[in-house]
Symmetry: C2
Subunit: 272 residues, 2 copies
Amino acid sequence: MCNEQPIGFIDSGVGGLTVVKEALKQLPNENILYLGDTARCPYGPRPAQQVIQFTWEMTQFLQKKNIKMLVIACNTATAVALEKIKTTLDIPVVGVILPGSRAAIKATKTKQIGVIGTEGTIKSASYKRVIVQKMPNAKITSLACPKFVPIVESNQFQTSVAKKIVAESLRPFTKQKVDTLILGCTHYPLLRPIIQNVMGTEVKLIDSGAETVGEVSMLLDYFQLANDRPTKDREVAFYTTGSTTMFDRIASEWLDEGSVNSKHIVLGEKNL
Amino acid sequence: MCNEQPIGFIDSGVGGLTVVKEALKQLPNENILYLGDTARCPYGPRPAQQVIQFTWEMTQFLQKKNIKMLVIACNTATAVALEKIKTTLDIPVVGVILPGSRAAIKATKTKQIGVIGTEGTIKSASYKRVIVQKMPNAKITSLACPKFVPIVESNQFQTSVAKKIVAESLRPFTKQKVDTLILGCTHYPLLRPIIQNVMGTEVKLIDSGAETVGEVSMLLDYFQLANDRPTKDREVAFYTTGSTTMFDRIASEWLDEGSVNSKHIVLGEKNL
């Protein structure tokens, strides 16, 4: 066993960077590999079978890089592919839906919980199923926000266009009050200030990705996989199937860790 | 797989009840079996090899009861026996030292952390080792408090005798300031008000047992072992190798769940 092996993070695009940002903070000794399937993003509207296939391709790429743990830092992929990948791989595999659900159950006082996510995630009803199992009298309002991911991927998440789209998309919550809202897509924390503004400061926003890193940390200890030797120059590497220029711009700004230089890779037979 | 199987909790005596109290709250659907080796308590001053043997005997008793997970709700036993038991059993096994360490790292601002525990736990230096690996510049002050467990087991934990002994035992902390103190023995939360009073309200007390239940909950989900079917009449059963009268008195008062009726059992060749 070599605990210096990296932890792998996969996402449909740049969304999983919100999880990596938290990992960089909470897990200062860990080497990190990130793969965003930007060329085939968004995953949200795709059929489940295709999302499973794409998620497998990302997983296999990182397996060859000898990762010690896999984090599916994408809600859509977690919803449809986590169980299969977890039972197949011989390393721990973590998704983002359970940690987000647990945090929401802890946060809510009225038991009125909102979930926003991609069409794929909302259609899978994964959050709803997990939460209701644990808190049978919870009332869950689920809403697909298919326009959010493209705004983030095109680096428009701080613009007035973003504000307009978020306000329009979240309108159903003016009728259906919730005290807790799960950001059920790892892209959404980049829109957090706008979402908070639309929902009001009294609504607690749950960042599933950030919650996930707590679980990753615990599982590293449980499986005795934590890299406890402090490393000055840990490896943090980024791969994208899409444009490295756009990826690097968003990653450099969001992660606040200096300039990001991602590498372009090709997955699958065709990349689009 | 049958998720209605109980979770097993073991301790040298009544201390693990502080963990069970938290489990009853956080895990409302789970069936719970508790075994306290009261007849051979305290474990703290015993040689490691003997603690390992006693812990095995408790583990084997609960294994026959078909538990789905084992919680070593005893710091002394966790320190010396966790790794061995974890690698031998084919069910998840959780100790109390890692969760307590993680919580202390999160809580401290000055990185001056105190640890109190039995002689066995302090001698093992388990907390110190775990914390320094994760926070290399932390300063750990460890102190064995061998008089605390007997006070709790004899149901004197709310008396003036307890106040006197706690004040005397914790005197070293008047010289060595800490901002966080780990209650590194599951018996100690019963002395919490007195300990808090002696340490001052500004010192954060970390209840390792309570922290552990968060980890249990997460692992139940990770291994898909949670009992998600709400049970009206879940089983909560208590076994002790010592006096059921004393055990029931402490358990009934501490757990606040109605009258506890423990069963007496015998472990090992001789019970004393």
